[in-house]
């Protein structure tokens, strides 16, 4: 007979497990990205550490841990030291609401998607702290750009993520995934016209929210060297990197859940999480593919794209989705 555990114990355990899985995922998804990019550029990529470079991420992590931790003399020490953690926490928190299979997740909140979107834009606080606290002109410019960009792209991001919410009629991520089960054509990406448009705008907004090329004006190493993290080294740099990739993985999970039917797929139900993982990797590779094929666009062009094109488009899409939903449920 099992001892009755207080309800918070499984929550803590599952949270711990998810956190560690995410960290493991991050280390290996960087290897995947490097291999993928290498293939695009007719190179081999990491190959020396372990068979086919499989131990490369571990070597990288060890290297970063052993590096000297440098704090610039002119930096605002408290803000500078706190920034990587403030940046990392929201990037990790977004995994809390994602159900990896029916009922398998940390907390499938009723307002799951709202929580996800709200928390994921909190990373800007850490970003700005890093940029400001470094007391470096490149970092400061980068932080300014970060605020500009996140404000501009969060609205299109939210609007395109709300299209599946409207189609489902629930903010709970578990419900959104459940509606898309059964057939391939239940996936929202195959919803006539609206689904595809929403998917495209979602990918574009994700690119911007994740600071990937062509929207990586925060990092912009050709003009700002490394942007907000130019002064960071060692483990603090690793934390920022970890947060960034965790955010990318989280957004890819969200995209796979909202548009690609989450854990639906052939085979027994136990394979659900595997399908979900594969779809996440697909989303990630789409982003990576775009990243390694485009040149970066300028800050004013990024803002113009958001406010003049993406925002009106997603708003119109959201309204038309609402009209379609009402019409299909016989509301008129």
């Amino acid at each position: 007979m099992l001892i009755a555990l207080p309800p918070w114990v499984p929550m803590v355990i599952s949270g711990f497990v998810v956190l560690n899985v995410v960290i493991g995922l991050v280390t290996y998804i960087t290897l995947l990205e490097r291999k993928f990019a290498a293939r695009m550029q007719s190179r081999i990529g990491p190959y020396r550490v372990g068979p086919h470079g499989l131990l490369q991420p571990i070597a990288d992590a060890l290297k970063l841990m052993m590096k000297e931790d440098i704090v610039p003399t002119a930096a605002d020490r408290r803000i500078y030291n706190l920034a990587p953690i403030v940046f990392l926490i929201p990037c990790m928190l977004i995994f809390a609401t994602i159900p990896f299979a029916p009922g398998l997740g940390v907390a499938d909140l009723n307002i799951g998607i709202l929580f996800f979107l709200a928390v994921s834009s909190m990373e800007i606080v850490g970003l700005f702290m890093a940029g400001w606290g470094s007391n470096n002109k490149y970092a400061l410019l980068s932080a300014m750009r970060a605020v500009n960009q996140i404000i501009s792209y969060d609205l299109p991001f939210i609007f395109s993520a709300l299209v599946p919410v409207l189609l489902t009629g629930s903010l709970k991520l578990g419900d959104i995934a459940a509606v898309q089960q059964g057939s391939l054509f239940n996936w929202f990406i195959f919803y006539p016209v609206i689904g595809q448009l929403a998917f495209i705008t979602f990918v574009v907004a994700t690119l911007a929210a994740e600071n990937r090329v062509p929207f990586d004006i925060l990092e912009a190493e050709s003009e700002l060297v490394a942007g907000f993290r130019v002064e960071y080294s060692g483990m603090k740099f690793a934390l920022i990197q970890l947060g960034e990739y965790a955010h990318m993985i989280g957004s890819s999970f969200l995209g796979a859940l909202l548009f690609l039917g989450a854990w639906s797929g052939p085979g027994p139900e136990a394979l659900g999480p595997v399908w979900f993982l594969l779809k996440m990797i697909f989303m990630f590779l789409v982003v990576t593919w775009i990243r390694w094929s485009f040149v970066r666009i300028r800050v004013d062009q990024i803002l113009a794209l958001s406010w003049k094109a993406l925002l009106p488009a997603t708003l119109a899409l959201l309204v038309s989705t609402a009209v379609v939903v009402v019409w299909r449920t016989g509301g008129f």
């Binding site: 190179r43 990092e219 050709s222 990243r291 390694w292 300028r298």
Partner: protein, 387 residues
């Protein structure tokens, strides 16, 4: 540090409250060597730029006074190390002009072949680094860069087979060339230029169908026809601003009059026009190499007798200026000879040095990101700027 009286600032009329002075270089990912730009920013907009050069000065002109006419050509290649053949070419031409040396026809054709191969190699490196300036080392720019490096490698292999070196050659000598092409080299060269011709088409498709690339290159860094003439820029920059001027056609040297080629020009004067000019120059260079290989005459490769000592060639008293059309524009060398085995005085005219003077005129008013794009489109090589 910078004397305000001696530096001219080109500023925009702006009454914003706060300005930020930011230092880009000499150690910066997009400094293209060791360029230092002190930019004054209003938010993201550049209002003034101070260009500081001189970090790579190696006393080349003084050095040439200590080296004989047989020794210096291989050192001359170190002025512009991206297009090493060009500066060797200019040096030996000036020496030949004073000494009235006859250059055999075969040597002239070989010189044209390596000069045009060098143009392709240099433009490939330019395209790669320029895209990297715009697209980042962690983005699409790096992809183009690696493709370009892959093709440049083919040309370096050709040079290696010819000379034994991959970067700094010493192929030229006063009176001709030092090496003849080895067996099978001409065939290998034909194959290589065929590959490059097809790859240039690929790059054009990849870049010109890309809205982001066009957004970054079109209308950025416009150099008007008048400004181009006033500042005295040369090469693809000049032709990008609508001035139809190319030394290979306007003042033919080394039998360039034997070949049939066109001089591409564009009207707009922006980064995209400079890009278009260089892309067409790839094709023209390929066409010239093909013709030169077809018509390559037999005969000696040098009129210079074999030497027992490096100080054996002496050039009569006199002075001459010789110029060639390098990948970056007019590269000239001025030699004053006092009749000994070494020049009395030698002066370089570097194309990058003159082209760089355009930057303070066109950068103000652009965003920070455009600074690197414009700088990349000018294609400076700092070995040639500082010398």
């Amino acid at each position: 540090m910078l004397d305000q009286n001696t530096t001219t600032r080109v500023e925009m009329d702006w009454s914003g409250p706060e300005r930020l002075q930011m230092n880009m270089g000499p150690q910066h990912p997009s400094a293209h060597g060791v360029f230092r730009a002190i930019v004054t920013l209003e938010g993201e907009t550049v209002v003034a730029v101070d260009a500081v050069i001189g970090y790579l000065h190696r006393c080349h002109e003084k050095l040439s006074e200590t080296l004989t006419y047989a020794q210096y050509p291989s050192i001359a290649s170190k002025t512009d190390y991206v297009a090493a053949m060009t500066s060797e070419f200019a040096y030996v031409m000036a020496a030949e002009e004073i000494g009235k040396f006859e250059v055999p026809k075969r040597a002239q054709y070989l010189r044209v072949i390596v000069a045009e191969l060098q143009r392709i190699a240099s433009h490939l490196l330019w395209l790669g680094t320029w895209c990297m300036d715009m697209g980042g080392a962690l983005g699409g720019g790096a992809t183009i860069f690696l493709y370009c490096i892959r093709e440049r490698e083919l040309i370096l292999d050709l040079f290696e087979a010819l000379v034994g070196a991959r970067l700094l050659y010493g192929f030229f000598q006063v009176g001709g060339t030092r090496y003849d092409i080895p067996d099978g080299w001409a065939q290998k060269c034909r194959e290589t230029i065929a590959v490059i011709e097809s790859r240039v088409d690929e790059y054009e498709q990849m870049l010109e169908d890309n809205a982001f690339f066009l957004a970054r290159a079109r209308g950025v860094g416009v150099v008007s026809r008048e400004l181009a003439q006033d500042v005295g820029i040369a090469g693809p920059l000049l032709r990008g601003s609508g001035i139809d001027y190319d030394l290979r056609r306007n003042a033919p040297y080394s039998s360039y009059q034997d070949f049939d080629f066109t001089v591409p020009t564009e009207k707009d004067g922006d980064c995209y026009a400079r890009y278009k000019v260089r892309m067409q120059e790839f094709r023209q260079a390929v066409a010239i190499i093909r013709q030169a290989l077809d018509k390559l005459p037999a005969g000696p490769i040098s009129s210079r007798p074999a030497l027992k000592s490096v100080a054996q060639i002496r050039i009569p008293k006199g002075e001459a200026y010789a110029r060639v059309e390098g990948p970056r524009g007019e590269v000239g060398s001025y030699i004053i000879s006092d009749g000994s085995a070494k020049p009395y005085r030698m002066k370089w005219r570097g194309a990058s040095f003159s082209n760089l003077a355009i930057l303070p005129h066109i950068i103000p008013g652009h965003k920070v990101a455009d600074v690197v794009a414009i700088m990349g489109s000018v294609d400076p090589v700092f070995g040639e700027v500082d010398r």
